[in-house]
């Protein structure tokens, strides 16, 4: 079985400061890891993915994520947060037998001006 944990329900950060959203995973074998963002009353938007290769993955809107196999983590980062980054962020994993996603519970990000 595969699972994802997002230990923080909410992250508060001031605009212009670095943003980090934490994610840890549990899966047998090599994971495929994803980050999605959800704005109110909207579906999920794909931000980035890790399949293999470089542990630092760059994605949309200035976001990046670092894959750490030893810590089974895939934290999302942004060097300078914007108010418009305020949203709900989901980490997800897929492994084997297709690309079905197992999601974490989500982390709400609030960026204050």
């Amino acid at each position: 079985a595969q699972s994802v944990a997002q230990p923080e329900d909410q992250v508060n950060v001031a605009e212009g400061n670095p943003l980090t959203v934490k994610c840890t995973y549990s899966v047998s074998g090599n994971p495929y890891l994803f980050w999605y963002v959800q704005y109110p009353n909207r579906g999920l938007q794909f931000l980035l993915k890790y399949i293999t290769g470089d542990n630092l993955v760059k994605g949309s809107y200035g976001f990046e994520a670092e894959f750490n196999k030893s810590q089974t983590s895939f934290h999302l980062k942004k060097p300078s947060a914007l108010v418009s980054d305020s949203a709900l962020y989901f980490c997800a994993v897929s492994r084997g037998g297709g690309n079905k996603l197992t999601f974490g519970g989500g982390t709400r990000v609030l960026v204050k001006p």
Binding site: Q45, K100, G105
Partner: protein, 114 residues
């Protein structure tokens, strides 16, 4: 280029009724997955369709069924609705069902069961 579209946007049903939700995938995509997102939770995988067949299924009862048409669009059917079926139902499409293909999500259908 149209993204994933879903209809209807909102739906209110009564316990015991049946409901059908519809999804059109992103242009060029042939695989459709359905997820249920309860309030305050992450989406949960219901099932996936590829080549008009159910390829994978999550931990959902047989009351949840689906279909994929030759044009790759898909329907999700839920019978004998329960209050607990109230949720946002998300459709996602991808180019294939293999490892690592990112899924593109529609805006969802908000189902309320009273």
């Amino acid at each position: 280029d149209a993204g994933v579209t879903q209809s209807p946007t909102h739906l209110i049903k009564t316990r015991g009724q049946q409901v059908t939700l519809r999804c059109s995938p992103k242009s060029g995509h042939d695989t459709v997955s359905w997820y249920q997102q309860a309030l305050g939770q992450g989406p949960q995988f219901i099932f996936q369709y590829y080549e008009e067949e159910e390829r994978q299924r999550g931990n959902f009862p047989d009351r949840f069924s689906g279909h994929q048409f030759p044009n790759y669009s898909s329907e999700l059917n839920v019978n004998a609705l329960l209050l607990g079926d109230s949720a946002l139902y998300l459709c996602a499409s991808s180019l294939g069902s293999g490892f690592g293909y990112e899924q593109y999500f529609g805006p969802g259908t908000r189902l309320t069961v009273t």
